[in-house]
């Protein structure tokens, strides 16, 4: 069960929220934990043992760490957590037929973050309920965002306050309203933009890369970039919205990445909770940029090697991560010396190179990737039976979703929302977006490829 299941949206979430807010403040964290365990169990009845065991082990290590700030214990914790992640992520590479447990990357990252922050003294007290909620919480368990522990401690609905019942009730309603807005917008981005554009990308695969025209190859690169963006941004907004409904602060995972001035900035604004995790728990501990240029390059290399490995083990992910490492290094040490040139080249990198890197990210087969690249840059003609109007046919079918993608990418829209989010017009637009998404979801059963009628 995911956020896109109508039972989740119209049955589980409303029932859960009603019980959650009927219960006294000090019981809400426990209810969230029970619900999150239930949610995980519905999705992964077997692998709940893995996350439970990992939680227990980390709890024991955390208890030790809270008594004595020992590097050895921290190292043991990091090794255990990383081994667990590497085992599941790498099992298939060694021919083992093991399914990767749901959200394993996300909860392992949180576990490492928890132990490291405890070691650094950022976490004062080890509390089982808060820690378990941090690892298990259902809005973030499947695909993040990767919050930090203080996110859990910031929940405004878990502690008693001086306010009257009426004031508290109003505050809950306002939280729900805010959370619902994020949820609805995220749902629309995922269901109406990303899922429909994924069909375009699938159509390109259906034609066969050797038979697509160069304009279609570029259209595919951009539409896949949009698909990935709205899929993940939409999901992150839904997760953040659910969190807000529960009394947590809003957690930002994407911040207008396509309007970044460089690829370095792009990756600070794209899946930023992952980026900042690597920064805080890999890059900084290695010395960051404080130990000379060569060491900085090495540290960046380590970060991007791990990022590539984390995304997948096929060779295309090595190329993807390697290319980004290379560009970021060039930007940092060469281009940054020429301010005006950097302003232009940096933006071109984001607008042109990023979509190309997403193509590398998407196509796992080297042979197929070579063909696609030669269609993007037809220096050698490997085309077979190309219909030169193919991109026009695609535009005819998908123009609306592409236009929506472009509109939602423009930062001014976010600015407009922030300024006018309580305006009646804005609310009616979000209301329409919510029901349009539900209509689409009801007719696709949560599977974008259900749109694929032949």
């Amino acid at each position: 069960m995911t956020f896109f299941d109508l039972i989740f949206i119209f049955r589980l979430v409303p029932i859960f929220l009603i019980i959650y807010y009927i219960l006294p403040c000090n019981c809400r964290a426990w209810l969230l934990l029970v619900a999150s365990i239930g949610f995980y169990y519905i999705n992964e009845p077997v692998y709940i043992a893995v996350i439970s065991a990992a939680t227990l082990i980390n709890y024991i290590l955390a208890k030790f760490l809270s008594k004595k700030k020992s590097k050895v214990i921290l190292a043991i914790g990091v090794i255990i957590n990383c081994s667990c992640l590497c085992f599941f992520k790498g099992a298939s590479s060694f021919g083992l037929n093991i399914v990767i447990p749901l959200g394993v990357s996300y909860y392992i990252f949180k576990m490492i973050s928890y132990l490291a922050d405890l070691y650094k003294g950022k976490i004062q007290k080890v509390e089982l309920i808060n820690m378990a909620n941090y690892f298990f919480m259902f809005p973030q368990i499947i695909s993040g965002p990767i919050a930090r522990y203080d996110y859990v401690e910031s929940n405004v609905s878990w502690t008693k306050n001086e306010k009257s019942k009426k004031e508290n009730f109003c505050a809950i309603l306002l939280q729900m309203e805010d959370g619902l807005k994020y949820f609805a917008m995220g749902l629309f981005m995922k269901v109406m933009i990303a899922d429909h554009l994924s069909v375009l990308w699938n159509d390109i695969k259906t034609i066969g890369y050797e038979s697509i025209s160069t304009p279609l190859a570029w259209l595919g690169a951009y539409s896949y970039s949009f698909e990935l963006y709205f899929d993940f941004w939409g999901y992150s907004l839904m997760a953040a919205g659910l969190g807000v409904m529960l009394g947590f602060p809003f957690i930002r995972n994407f911040d207008q990445p396509y309007f970044s001035k460089s690829i370095s900035e792009f990756y600070r604004n794209w899946h930023s909770t992952l980026g900042s995790w690597f920064r805080d728990y890999v890059y900084f501990p290695l010395g960051g940029n404080r130990k000379g240029k060569l060491r900085t390059v090495f540290n960046l290399f380590v970060v991007w090697t791990l990022t590539g490995l984390w995304h997948g083990q096929t060779f295309n992910f090595w190329i993807w991560a390697g290319a980004i490492f290379l560009i970021i290094t060039i930007e940092k040490f060469i281009l940054s010396r020429f301010e005006k040139l950097f302003m232009v080249v940096g933006r071109i990198n984001v607008m042109v190179i990023i979509p190309i890197t997403w193509v590398v990210f998407a196509i796992h087969s080297m042979k197929a990737l070579r063909v696609y690249m030669l269609r993007l840059f037809p220096v050698i003609d490997i085309s077979v039976a190309v219909n030169k109007n193919d991109y026009l046919y695609m535009l005819q079918d998908y123009w609306l979703y592409l236009v929506m993608a472009i509109v939602f990418t423009i930062p001014a829209l976010t600015g407009f929302y922030k300024k006018h989010k309580n305006n009646v017009f804005t609310i009616f637009v979000i209301f329409a977006m919510f029901w349009i998404s539900i209509f689409s979801l009801a007719n696709s059963a949560g599977n974008p490829f259900m749109y694929l009628r032949f």
Binding site: L6, I7, F10, R11, C170, L173, L174, M176, E177, L180, K181, A184, N202, K205, T206, I207, G208, E210, S211, I212, V384, A385, V386, N387, N389, D390, Y393, D397, N422, N423, V424, I427, I430, F431, F434, W435, I438, F439, A442, N443, R453, F454
Partner: protein
Amino acid sequence: MKINSILLLLLTIISAIAITVVGIVFRTTVYTKYYTNPYKTTSIGAVFQAASDNIFPWSKIEVEEKKTVTVTKKTNKKINKIKKYVSVDNSYFDDALFIGDSRMVGLSQYCQDIDARATFYAKKSLSIYNIRDDKWIETEDGEEISLAEALETNHFSKIYIMVGINELGRGDEVDFREAYQDVINQIQAAEPDAYIFINSIMHVSGEKNETDELYNNTNINIRNDAIKTLEDKQNIFYLNINEAVDDEEGNLDAETTSDGVHLKGACYEPWHEYLLSHGVE
């Protein structure tokens, strides 16, 4: 607290309750077939699925009446003369019409020899029921007309049809055959002398066949066997194009498809060749 600050919440709750009530009230009437699983189907899901089929609370539940189509049968038809296939060249398609779903769209886009000569009424997700019942052919003015209307102004000597994959989830082979028969009747009413070529539903790949409960070759073969019986070998011909595109195991050749359902752009030639070797004079 201003109403605006919780307006979305109020609107969403009220509308969700209203739609749920509608779903529950009409559950045993218009929405019966949309409650496939009483535990897993939400009322909102059922109401929205029905709405996409143009079914609303005020819709009348009609017992499907079989549309009768008047067929002008040719009286001078030589009943027993079975026609044999001959090889033809591309000019054979000069007065041909191709009707079909996304696979036919693929033929129009990736077989220039045919596309340059023939007319295509092809559309993604087209089914035999759409062809029979709907106005689905877009004219140059942007107007949508039915097949019968299109055939009033445009005339063809050969009509090729390939549909059937989208219909696998609807009805059974008898129902499918009847709809096919109705379409043939409509065509023959407008074009009594035209040759109608029923293209078999193209198979899916072996992998798709083994993993898909609906879109598999067993289901496709059942439907193909049904429409094959429409053939009279005088005016109506059944072309088993799977002979041209299958591998040795009777599945769509995996080398020729990316998604297991459609031919890759570069792989339409065997179908084209098959049509060239199956002309009728």
